[in-house]
Subunit: 311 residues, 2 copies
Amino acid sequence: MAVGRVVVFSGGVGGAKLADGLAQVLPGENLTVIVNTGDDFDHLGLRICPDLDTVVYTLAGIADPENGWGRAGEQWTVLEALRELGGPDWFNLGDRDLALHLLRTDMLGKEISLTEVTSRLCKRLGVVCSVLPMTDDPVATRVLTENGDLAFQEYFVERHCEPVVRSFRFSGIENARPTPGVMDAIEKADVILFGPSNPWVSLDPILAVQGIREALGKKKVVAVSPLVGGKALKGPAAKMYRELGIEPGAGAVAAHFKDLLSGFVFDTIDMEQIEEIKALNVQTLVTDTIMKDRTSRKRLAKEILGFSGSL
Amino acid sequence: MAVGRVVVFSGGVGGAKLADGLAQVLPGENLTVIVNTGDDFDHLGLRICPDLDTVVYTLAGIADPENGWGRAGEQWTVLEALRELGGPDWFNLGDRDLALHLLRTDMLGKEISLTEVTSRLCKRLGVVCSVLPMTDDPVATRVLTENGDLAFQEYFVERHCEPVVRSFRFSGIENARPTPGVMDAIEKADVILFGPSNPWVSLDPILAVQGIREALGKKKVVAVSPLVGGKALKGPAAKMYRELGIEPGAGAVAAHFKDLLSGFVFDTIDMEQIEEIKALNVQTLVTDTIMKDRTSRKRLAKEILGFSGSL
């Protein structure tokens, strides 16, 4: 059965790339990207939503192709002037990127919801599929480490993911409700895809929003492994697994989500883990999962849609 | 008697240039610039203080030499990106300038006073004299025009000073107290100079802050005319006088402040107004008041100090 409506759960770079592949294949009205907001934070009075921005920039075709985050052709004059004035320069605030933060912060200050703000920015940037924050309520991922309880950006940017992690906490999650748009998109979806994003700090926060995990109980869910050859292409996912006493690998990711999954997509390089994954009672698609350019994003998206339709 | 301690009241460009001339002549501890904050406003969530910034940038030697306001070598990437996102682009928000607005807004949000914020920025930029906002309390100049009651920046930037003015109002002024630093500087000053700033919207707001006008009663006050040959070098002062039914000129400025003045400085080109001004019982210095470069700022500052000492 062909897959019509698709919802993707996404963190930053990996999920954004898969979303872009799907956007090349599906009509905009059939694709919804639900994005982690646990990394969102306030910096210099600005509300910054790293994962939402990476998804929007990637779908708009204006993401920096090297970094994956931020904008292509970025300038850094403001950051340079900030440094000169003795301001905080630990967070990479690009000039073009800053315009979006300013505009969003201003709209949020006028009581416009993050969902509506994101929708307006998408429209302005020509993004035709739906990009939805997982919730409009504030959630802040905390990384509990051997060096204390750290805010996510403190762990990720300031401390370069160096502290050894013990667990995670999504502060505010008990009061975070999904927006009607999120629940509606899940309800109507033929398949829910988990992008190749960090299970601990990108996907788990989305699943922890009230009612989302329950809503998936009735749905076909397919996850794409963010770990390839035991390593994350980007970010600290593998390091986190190791520090939590779990051997990082495609199998570990599949096990992480096992209660939810109908299908699991992982890289050919990890072929030897297929039996371990099948033992979780999950169907598998083994393919080249590295999305090095727009063409490979599209190719992977097509394969995943075909696989999902076959389940 | 030589003049030791000097206080200058200043709006933007004209007052800033005189302050820079004085800063070239006086030791930092003997010079205080008290700056109009009636033009301050919020834009995109940022607190913007146009006159304070012009004074600080000018004293730091980093002001744009063409415009008088903003920074030399400014970049406009953020504004360009804002425009692309459909954000407001009527206010010229330079990249380097923006760094200061961000930092100030962040500090103000942490309950640091505008006086303290300004002092920290000055220190960082190597400005050694004191630059003080007229008050830490919010004051907003309103321009009452034939087209309605406009916020100052709306009148000045958005409407290009086109609406015909009827009067001015300084919203919040009844609760605006001068800081202890302002009163102390006035108290200790040998002379108070009114920079060549707009009497209606730069100097009147300072004089309207509780207790400032009264404190000047005991002091030697010398004003420098912002009108030369009946025209303002910058801004709408002459147009305002005309619309209020007063012939614009050095004499009109002297009359504006007549109760306060011991001395008045105006341009040679307006020599024919000397009798009209002397009739106000004010001593005069007639000289070249156009400060086209740093050298002429210094020259004028020296002449004014000499004149003030002779009063």
